[in-house]
C-alpha cells in the first residue's frame, strides 16, 4: 500500500522520512539528518551528517564506528521534547538494548511513534519499554507470528547451567549478538548466581566494557582469545561470542564444545538443527506474539503500521481486531539478526 508523500512520515528509498522536519529515522544509507532508535548495525549506520540519538546509542556508535561516525552528534534526553523544523520530537525507552528508544514524531495534531525494535519483559541491562499514547504506532514484527511465545528467560538460563553440570568436561560456547544479547545473557547468568569467570570473544570486549562502565554488573569477564602454547580449553566453562565466530576457526580451541545459541529464533527446532546448535536458548530482545498484540491493545492507536519481520500476520491480527493496519515494506533491516 502506498502512502501519500504529504503524510508526516513515509517510507523513502533511504528509510523512513519526515518531509516537514527533513529528517530520517534509522536510515539505511547516509543522509543529512538522522534520528537513531538504537545501536544495532542495521539501524545505526555510519556516515550521516547530523545524528540525534540517546547518549548511550551515540556512545555505542562511537565504539563501533570510531569518533568520526557522523558529522555532528546531538544527545536526545529521554522524555524531553525537541522541535525540528516545527516537528515535535521526543525519545522514550524501548527496552530492546542499552540506549534503545522509541521516537515520537508530532505535527499538525497527529502523533506517530516509531518504536524501533522493542521488548516488554524485564532486562537487567536496559530501561523498560514505556508505552506512549499516539495516533499511529509503528511496530516491528520480527516475531510476528502466533507461534512465537518466548519462555521465561530464567528457565532458559537454568537449562544452560543444567547442561554445564551434566557435561562438565565440555566447553559451552554461547553464540549471542555482540550488542545487547551477549551482555543480557551474562547478566542473566549472574542473576542466577553463576559467579565463575565468563570468557568472551574479542568482538564483545569493548561493548562489555562499556556496559560495565554504565553500571551494569557483568561480574568477572575474561578474554577467551588467549595466546600461547598452553592455552586453556575452557572445559566446564562458558564462552560467549558472536554467532559467526562459532562457525570460524576460532572455535577449534575449545574442549568438545557444546554449541549453544541465544536467540528468539531458537524456538523453531529446524532453525537450531540447521545451524548445528545443540542447546538452543530462547532468549530474545524482541517482543513475542503475545507482547506485540498486547502492546497494540495497550497503546490503542488509531492506526498500526508494521515494519520488518512477518508483517502479514500482524496486519491480519489487527484486521481481526478491527484496528486499521498496513505493512510499511521498509527495506534494509535485518530481521534475522537476533
Amino acid at each position: 500500500m502506498r502512502m501519500k508523500p504529504d503524510s508526516l512520515l513515509y517510507p523513502a528509498p533511504r528509510g523512513l522520512y519526515c518531509a516537514k522536519g527533513d529528517f530520517y529515522i534509522d536510515p539505511v544509507q547516509p543522509v543529512e539528518r538522522a534520528l537513531i532508535t538504537h545501536g544495532h548495525a542495521d539501524h545505526a549506520r555510519a556516515g550521516h551528517g547530523r545524528v540525534l540519538a540517546t547518549r548511550e546509542t551515540l556512545d555505542i556508535m562511537r565504539i563501533r564506528y570510531g569518533e568520526g561516525f557522523c558529522g555532528e552528534s546531538q544527545v536526545a534526553s529521554l522524555g524531553e521534547t525537541m522541535a525540528i523544523n516545527g516537528v515535535r520530537v521526543s525519545f522514550h525507552p524501548a527496552g530492546h538494548v542499552l540506549g534503545s528508544a522509541q521516537i515520537s514524531v508530532e505535527a499538525g495534531g497527529k502523533r506517530i511513534v516509531v518504536s524501533g525494535d522493542y521488548k516488554r519483559r524485564s532486562d537487567p541491562t536496559c530501561r523498560p519499554f514505556e508505552p506512549v499514547p499516539c495516533d499511529v504506532f509503528i511496530t516491528e514484527a520480527t516475531f510476528g507470528l502466533p507461534v512465537f511465545h518466548h519462555p521465561d528467560d530464567r528457565l532458559e538460563t537454568a537449562r544452560l547451567l543444567a547442561s554445564l553440570k551434566q557435561f562438565p568436561e565440555r566447553a559451552h560456547v554461547v553464540g549471542a549478538y555482540a550488542l545487547g544479547k551477549a551482555q543480557r545473557v551474562i547478566a542473566l547468568l549472574r542473576q542466577h548466581g553463576y559467579d565463575e569467570p565468563i570468557h568472551i570473544h574479542g568482538a564483545l570486549a569493548k561493548l562489555c566494557e562499556y556496559y560495565q562502565a554504565e553500571g551494569i554488573d557483568l561480574g568477572d569477564i575474561q578474554s577467551a582469545t588467549l595466546a600461547g602454547e598452553k592455552r586453556p580449553d575452557f572445559a566446564g566453562g562458558i564462552v560467549i561470542g558472536p554467532p559467526s565466530a562459532f562457525a570460524d576457526r576460532w572455535a577449534r580451541r575449545f574442549a568438545e564444545p557444546v554449541a549453544v545459541f541465544a536467540s528468539g529464533w531458537m524456538l523453531i527446532r529446524q532453525r537450531a538443527k540447521q545451524r548445528g546448535v545443540e542447546l538452543p536458548l530462547v532468549i530474545s530482545d524482541h517482543c513475542d506474539w503475545a507482547e506485540l498484540t498486547g502492546t497494540i491493545r495497550e497503546i490503542a492507536p488509531a492506526e498500526v503500521w508494521v515494519t520488518h519481520g512477518r508483517e502479514e500476520a500482524l496486519v491480519r491480527w489487527c484486521e481481526l481486531e478491527g484496528i486499521p493496519a498496513r505493512p510499511l515494506h521498509l527495506v534494509g533491516y535485518d530481521d534475522e539478526g537476533e
Binding site: P146, S163, R249, A251
Partner: protein, 537 residues
C-alpha cells in the same frame, strides 16, 4: 512430561553418541517410575498407544485460531506438531502443570475412541510448550529423535553398571513400564527372571583385512565364505517366541512376516537377509537395490511380498534349541547350522556356501571375480574360533572387493557437527554432463568422511577461500573446468535413483584421496557412472 520433553529436545540436536547416552542415563536416573519406563518404551519403539491423526490436532487448534494465521504459522514452522505446540493458547488463567509422562500414557491407554479428542485438548491446555510438543509427537506416533533401541539399551547398561548383553537377554521378555528392569538396574532387586527366555545376542563382527595381515596367517586355519550384500540379521525361535533382529538388535519381524512364519527351527541363527531366490530353489539372488524395497517398513503388503520375497542365507548358529553353541568352534557350529537349515523351508533358508581355496593368491583371484553379482567380498573365519560378541581382530576378517573410484569435483560444503562444527566437513561433489548450454556439473553424492584431519584442514581452507554463494548453512564453492577442487571418491555401488537429479545414488561414498594434481575438467563424466549401475565393485 517436562523432563521427558527436555530429553527429546536435547536428543534431537545432539549428534555425539556418547552425549546421547549421557542424556538418556541422566534422565533414567532422575525420573520416577512409571514415567521413565514409558519414556524408554517411546524411544525404543515398544510403546503402543491409540494414535491420533494429524487432522485432529489441526482441528483442535483451529477451534481457537484464525485459519489465515494458522497457515502463516504452519508455512513458517513446517511441522504440524511443532506449530500446534507453539501456537496453542490455553484458556486465560491456566497455569501449566507438569503432568507426569506416566499419567499421560495411562490416560491415553484408558481413553475410548470418543474421549480422545477432549483428552488431547485437555492435555494441550495443561502442558507447557515443550510438553505439548513431546505429547503431540507421542500421540501422532513419530518421535524421530535419532536414537535406536540399541542406544537406549546401552544407556540402561551404563545406568546399572551392567553389560549390554544382559539387557539384551532380558529385553524382549519385559514390557513397558519396565518396573522390574529399573529395580534391578538401581540395585534394589535381583535380575528379573523371565518366563520367556532370551532373545537377541550381540553379533560377531569381522575386521577388514589390512596391509600385511595375511602374511603371518596359514590358509589352512581358515574357512572362506562369500560376503553377501544384504543386511545382517539374527533370527530367534526360543520357547515358541519368534523374532527377527537387525544386527544392531532392532526388531524387524513386522517387515518380514514370511521369514518369521517360516522360522520353524528352534534356536538362534545368524545370517544375511536377502531377496530373490535361495540356492535350494535354484533361483538367483536379487540385488541390494531390490532388498531396499523391503527395508525401513513397519509392515508390508502382498505385492511387496510377491515381488521381493525375502530369505535368510545362514552364516552361523548361536543356539540349537536351548543349547548355547557359541563356545563351540566354527566347524562344529557350521555342522549344526547345516542340519538346521536342511530341515527348514527351502524357500526361506539356505546355507552360505564355503569357498574352497589353498593359497591367499587363489582367494584374492576369487574375490576379484566372484560368481554372483550380489557378492561384495570374502569372509575369513578361523576354524577354531568360538562365536564372540562384538568386533575383535583375529578370528574373523572381511576382505571386500575393491570399491569403485571416480574423480569428482567439489560443489558444495556444509559444516559438520560436534568436534567438526567449525569445519566444512560435509561435501557434495559432482561430475560433468552435457546439458542445454554446454557441459555442466551435476551433483552425484555427498561424503563426510574418508579424509584425514590434515586433509580436512586443506578442504576446509579451500571452501573458505573459494565460496561463491551461500544458501543458509550451505556454501557453494568455485567449480569451473580450470578452477576448483578434485577429489577421488570411493563407493560400494551405484543404484538408479529418481530422487537425485543425476539419476544415480552412491552407496557408502567417502573421499578416498585429494587430487590437487588434477583440474576439474579432468574429473569423470556422468556416463561413466551410468555404466556402473548395477555393477559390483
Amino acid at each position: 512430561m517436562k523432563a521427558f520433553a527436555e530429553l527429546l529436545g536435547r536428543l534431537v540436536l545432539t549428534p555425539q553418541r556418547n552425549a546421547k547416552i549421557r542424556l538418556l542415563t541422566d534422565y533414567f536416573r532422575s525420573s520416577p517410575d512409571p514415567s521413565r519406563g514409558y519414556a524408554l518404551a517411546a524411544i525404543a519403539g515398544t510403546l503402543s498407544l491409540n494414535t491420533v491423526k494429524p487432522a485432529l490436532i489441526r482441528d483442535l487448534l483451529l477451534e481457537r485460531m484464525d485459519e489465515v494465521l494458522f497457515h502463516y504459522s504452519y508455512d513458517y514452522v513446517g511441522d504440524l506438531a511443532e506449530t500446534v505446540s507453539l501456537a496453542w493458547e490455553p484458556p486465560e488463567g491456566t497455569v501449566p502443570v507438569d503432568v507426569p509422562l506416566g499419567e499421560v500414557v495411562e490416560r491415553l491407554q484408558r481413553a475410548g475412541r470418543s474421549e480422545v479428542r477432549s483428552l488431547v485438548r485437555d492435555m494441550l491446555d495443561r502442558l507447557d510448550t515443550a510438553g505439548r510438543f513431546a505429547f503431540l509427537k507421542l500421540v501422532t506416533g513419530g518421535l524421530r529423535i535419532g536414537v535406536s533401541a540399541r542406544l537406549a539399551k546401552q544407556a540402561l547398561a551404563d545406568l546399572g553398571g551392567k553389560d549390554i548383553g544382559e539387557i539384551e537377554t532380558l529385553w524382549h521378555g519385559l514390557s513397558p513400564p519396565y518396573l522390574p528392569l529399573f529395580l534391578w538396574l538401581s540395585g534394589e532387586a535381583e535380575m528379573p527372571v523371565l518366563t520367556t527366555p532370551a532373545v537377541f545376542h550381540s553379533v560377531m563382527l569381522a575386521t577388514p583385512i589390512g596391509e600385511g595381515d595375511l602374511e603371518g596367517l596359514d590358509p589352512a586355519d581358515f574357512a572362506a565364505e562369500w560376503k553377501w550384500d544384504g543386511i545382517r540379521v539374527q533370527l530367534a525361535n526360543i520357547g515358541g517366541v519368534r523374532r527377527l533382529y537387525s544386527r544392531s538388535g532392532d526388531e524387524i519381524s513386522g517387515a518380514f512376516p514370511e521369514i518369521v512364519e517360516a522360522a520353524g527351527i528352534a534356536g538362534v541363527i545368524d545370517g544375511e537377509l536377502l531377496v530373490g531366490g535361495t540356492t535350494r530353489t535354484n533361483r538367483s539372488t536379487a540385488t541390494f537395490g531390490d532388498l531396499q524395497q523391503r527395508l525401513n517398513r513397519k509392515t508390508v503388503n502382498r505385492k511387496l511380498l510377491d515381488d521381493y520375497p525375502a530369505f535368510i542365507r545362514g552364516y552361523d548358529i548361536l543356539f540349537t534349541g536351548e543349547r548355547d553353541m557359541r563356545p563351540e568352534p566354527f566347524h562344529a557350529r557350521r555342522e549344526a547350522l547345516a542340519a538346521l537349515i536342511d530341515a527348514a523351508s527351502p524357500h526361506h533358508f539356505d546355507l552360505s556356501p564355503l569357498v574352497p581355496f589353498s593359497t591367499w593368491e587363489e582367494l584374492d583371484r576369487l574375490r576379484s571375480d566372484p560368481p554372483d553379482p550380489v557378492i561384495e567380498g570374502i569372509m575369513l573365519k578361523r576354524l577354531d574360533s568360538p562365536y564372540l560378541a562384538g568386533r575383535m581382530k583375529g578370528p574373523w576378517f572381511k576382505w571386500k572387493r575393491a570399491p569403485f573410484n571416480i574423480d569428482a569435483v567439489l560443489m558444495y560444503a556444509q559444516r559438520g557437527h560436534g568436534k567438526r562444527s567449525s569445519y566444512y566437513s560435509d561435501f557434495t561433489f559432482g561430475v560433468w554432463t552435457e546439458a542445454e548450454g554446454g557441459t555442466t556439473l551435476v551433483p552425484v553424492g555427498k561424503a563426510y568422511f574418508g579424509f584425514t584431519d590434515a586433509e580436512l584442514e586443506i578442504l576446509d581452507r579451500f571452501v573458505r577461500d573459494n565460496t561463491v554463494e551461500r544458501f543458509g548453512p550451505v556454501r557453494a564453492v568455485r567449480a569451473e573446468p580450470d578452477a576448483g577442487f578434485v577429489v577421488e571418491v570411493a563407493f560400494e555401488g551405484l543404484n538408479r535413483s529418481t530422487r537425485h537429479k543425476s539419476g544415480v545414488a552412491m552407496r557408502f561414498p567417502r573421499i578416498a584421496r585429494l587430487r590437487q594434481d588434477k583440474l576439474p575438467r579432468e574429473a569423470d563424466r556422468l556416463e561413466t557412472l551410468q555404466a556402473m549401475i548395477g555393477m559390483k565393485g
